[in-house]
Amino acid sequence: MSLTDLMTMAKSDKKLQRKILGQLWMVHPDECYQCMRCTSGCTSLKLLELKPHEITLLVNSGFIEELVSSDIIWTCASCLKCKERCPQKASPYNTIMALRNLAVEREAQIPEAYMRAISQILETGLMQQVQTVASKDNQPLNRETLGLPEMRGPDDKFQAVFIEVLGG
């Protein structure tokens, strides 16, 4: 059974489709002719069953809601092979990122680690805190004991501007 058969119960949503397409710059999913070069080289095909050509087909068919609420858009490894190898300008990678953005906007279930990284950036400017690491023989070491200069995040003004741009 093809994907379009599976979607026969769903309704195509042109408004959401326009929203996704509007987020893309120099990327044209509608040029896709389903050659599957993206899927044949996809890092996440074997383990997570990501098929970028199907994502593109579903976007072109207007089944955006179904994609946004599906875990499949979170299986992309961002290796960029699909973007590189696409003979058109369809770049499934960019489409997947646009779908993820829409999932966040619609408060769908998204992997927690992304929100943790955002909170950390809001707090310190960086996606994770400065860590103490262990040497191979288990000695705890940090920037100071390793002779590295002190690490400082962004100035105070940064946080307000970042909140503003995140808000839209």
Binding site: G125, L146, V165
Partner: protein, 288 residues
């Protein structure tokens, strides 16, 4: 030659061996690093949440580079390198987005100028320092050793923006390793991704991808594995045992940052290069 450096998040918060080895080796090759101040994340993990916010983060780090007085910017992390390169491409070519970014940047009294050249360690050494100058500085050749190199994904793709090496046949990292007197291996899994971006959502899959690549390499009988990205290195080095457990095999392969090997060939000390931080390093296998 003065080169500004943007360290990103992963290197200065955890992958200290990369920073240590870079700070050690570059002065020997007449490169003086200028650390950017006031930097933030490049926007890598933010992109999945809000692409414009991610673009803003990259744009502000580029604007900070503009303040240093040098037009050359070293970005040693593959993900940061992609984010900053893509942001520059977008701002250079999309007037609407350029205006939006300049307006946001002005709130922190910053401004973006296109006069910035973005380098990664691999092309900085291969194309700016040049291979012959590296060869001339080698004091202790790594002869008799064979390495498999891993350039990673995001510095070689997409080729529509300026990237570090050929998207399907990258050779620069091999050439840099060969310049130190070692051999390299051409292997079918060379372009396989480490899977690091999946650590956010599917950790098991990331570990499987890492384990499968290392397992294949172990069967080819190489002495070590060379990378040049803090994300790839975290998986291949620190998470090597976890990746072996995930695929149900035994893996023991010494993993190095290229800059660590370069430092060893320049006769710098192991600890100065952070080699004691490499969890996978097996000293019995190496004479250096």
């Amino acid at each position: 030659m003065k080169v500004a450096v943007y360290w990103g998040c992963k290197i200065p918060t955890a992958q200290y061996a990369y920073e240590m080895s870079l700070r050690q080796v570059l002065p020997h090759l007449d490169i003086e690093l200028i650390d950017l101040k006031n930097t933030s994340c490049c926007g890598g993990p933010v992109r999945s949440v809000n692409t414009t916010a991610a673009l803003f983060l990259s744009a502000r780090n580029l604007a900070l580079s503009n303040q240093t007085g040098t037009e050359d910017l070293l970005v040693p992390c593959n993900e940061c390198h992609f984010m900053l390169s893509e942001a520059k491409h977008r701002i250079d070519n999309d007037a609407v987005m350029r205006e939006k970014m300049q307006e946001l940047l002005s709130k922190e009294d910053l401004a973006f100028s296109p006069r910035v050249r973005i380098w990664h360690v691999i092309d900085l050494l291969h194309d700016m320092v040049k291979v012959d100058s590296i060869k001339a500085k080698v004091k202790k050749p790594l002869s008799g050793l064979k390495f498999a190199v891993h350039p990673g994904c995001q510095i070689i793709r997409p080729s529509e923006i300026k990237r570090v090496d050929h998207s399907e046949k990258p050779r620069k990292l091999d050439i840099l390793v060969e310049a130190l007197g070692a051999e390299t291996l051409d292997y079918p899994e060379k372009l396989d991704c480490c899977g690091a971006a999946l650590l956010y959502s599917h950790e098991d899959a990331a570990l499987s991808l890492t384990g499968s690549k290392l397992k294949a390499l172990q069967d080819y009988d190489v002495d070590g594995f060379v990378d040049s990205c803090p994300y790839c290195h975290t998986l291949y080095d620190a998470r090597q045992k976890d990746s072996a457990a995930m695929i149900g095999g035994n893996i023991s392969l010494s993993v190095f940052y290229y800059t660590q090997l370069l430092g060893l060939a320049l006769k710098l000390g192991r600890e100065e290069l952070g080699l004691h931080l490499n969890q996978s390093f097996n000293p019995e296998k190496f004479k250096f």
